[in-house]
């Protein structure tokens, strides 16, 4: 769906933020991890057309993004920003979610249907007439997710969706990601929460210093202990525990751990 070839970018002459990135994205849900400043957000902004590359190409559905404005790209690729307060523009929850669909020239009726459908997913459909700013922070975050989901784009990218979410909030986000995957959309996220990555994403890409350090099935990526250390990334807790106990295979979830534990006894 997305093809990135030899992509480089720098904000100023001295420091290169991204250099020589080659990536291809299929429909697998993908987590992008790495330290702050590794270039994750920059890559996403380039795909979204919010920044222009110095070198290289990004093709989405075979179309070069460099010829299009960010607003035009909004029909194919959605992005949920990290801070909800930067992205709430309207006075009611319903208007807020309809803002995107109306911008991409959906007719009013369809926009409303899509909006309500998206709000149902985040369980805010009982607050249509409320002022978004009266919602709690985690509700605002869910609202922002709904307002991108309603645009019904093929590709959806999240930037740190789980920050400041408690257990309940994370659970909802998990369900939304699952629902989007079921609709056969490409879901991508920038994230620091490794447990969440292990449980929800098929593919993981590790960025370090503006380059792709690791890329593959999440399980394989989290088995590369040494390389993860280079990128200052730690494997999920359960993976570390299994490894310390000498399990042969890389474990990603509590259930996997329990299954494996039954068929295995630790070395004496």
């Amino acid at each position: 769906m997305i093809k990135i070839a030899n992509l480089s970018f720098s904000y100023n002459k001295e420091t290169r933020v991204l250099s020589g990135i080659n990536l291809e994205f299929d429909r697998r849900s993908t987590a992008i991890i790495g330290q702050n400043g590794a270039g994750k957000t920059t890559l996403v902004k380039l795909m979204k057309g919010l920044l222009k590359a110095d070198e290289g190409k990004i093709l989405i559905h075979e179309h070069d993004v460099s010829g299009k404005t960010a607003a035009q790209l909004a029909r194919t690729i959605g992005l949920v920003f990290q801070n909800p307060n930067d992205q709430i523009f309207k006075r009611t929850v319903l208007d807020e979610v309809m803002f995107g669909p109306l911008n991409i020239k959906m007719d009013k009726q369809t926009a409303k249907e899509k909006a309500i459908e998206a709000l149902k997913m985040v369980e805010l459909d009982d607050k249509l007439e409320m002022n978004p700013h009266d919602l709690s922070l985690s509700e605002k975050k869910l609202l922002c997710i709904a307002s991108v989901v309603a645009m019904d784009t093929d590709i959806i990218i999240f930037d740190e969706p789980t920050i400041a979410q408690d257990h309940g909030g994370k659970e909802k986000i998990r369900q939304i990601i699952q629902a989007l995957k079921d609709k056969n959309k490409l879901v991508m996220t920038i994230i620091h929460d490794m447990d969440f990555v292990a449980e929800n994403f098929e593919r993981t890409i590790v960025f370090n210093d503006g380059q792709v350090l690791l890329d593959g099935e999440t399980r394989d990526v989290f088995s590369q202990k040494e390389l993860l250390k280079t990128a200052c990334v730690e494997a999920p807790g359960i993976t570390k525990l299994a490894e310390r106990l000498g399990f042969k295979d890389t474990v990603l979830t509590v259930d996997e751990f329990i299954n494996m534990k039954k068929t295995y006894s630790p070395p004496q």
């Binding site: 920050i163 979410q165 257990h167 309940g168 909030g169 490794m194 525990l241 310390r244 534990k261």
Partner: protein, 281 residues
Amino acid sequence: MKKIIVEGLKYKYPLADSLALNDVTFDIKQGEFIGIIGKNLAGKSTLCQALVGLVPHFYKGAYGGKVIVDGLEVKNHSIADLSLKVGMVFQNPFTQVTGSKTTVYEEIAFGLENIGIPRTEIIERIDSVLDLLNIEQVKDHNPFDLSGGQMQRMAIASIIAMKPDILVLDEPTSQLDPAGSEEVFQAIQSLSKQGITVILAEHKMEKIAQYCDRVLLLNNGKVVDFDTPGKIFSREDLEGYGLTAPVYTRVCKALGVKKAGTDEYPVTLEEAERVLRGDGA
């Protein structure tokens, strides 16, 4: 020695319909490292702010009960007076930068200038906190040019320089990457080892389990429990309060293995490893 005593604390924000804190009672001894957990809106931030006087002095609102911090009753003392006893670090490193100073060094001096510390002592104190929080190498940088982890350590340094005996932190690492969080937790731990009483509100249960002596569990503005991490995370009703135990505890619960001779499940990686090894033997 009791460092903090909270007795029947009730508080309602102006314009709010319900109590943010409802009959909260507990006490904390000198040098303890205390974690505060609870789902969003359970009252964690409000409680933190009640310890430094922002509640009620900054917000006003209805206030009842008593909070005594190092001998001072919060209700009767100004935030500036309290700041000599108890310091607070907030969630967002960005909004804690004063914006009126151009270097990290000057930034740390801000609080000390306000409370009238003599010049020579200001310099001694800054030099020592720069070292303590390991940000010496950025002392001449502009505060806004730091990474999130460095900025948050600078915020802690700015507070610690005022020499409070008690440090309150409200989700200090929620905006940081794992490496930045780790830096901050290491710094807090080293302060705790020097005898500073630490109170930390946090969502990251693995960190709470690893670092805290005792954990205060809040729900709807009330104290549900206040006990060791082992006891708290072994509770069967955690999910009911919108919380999950650390992954190590969950896996041991599922396997039904407890720490030898106790009724508690392991809460850290090390404990879980020990127990699970022993289990197979």
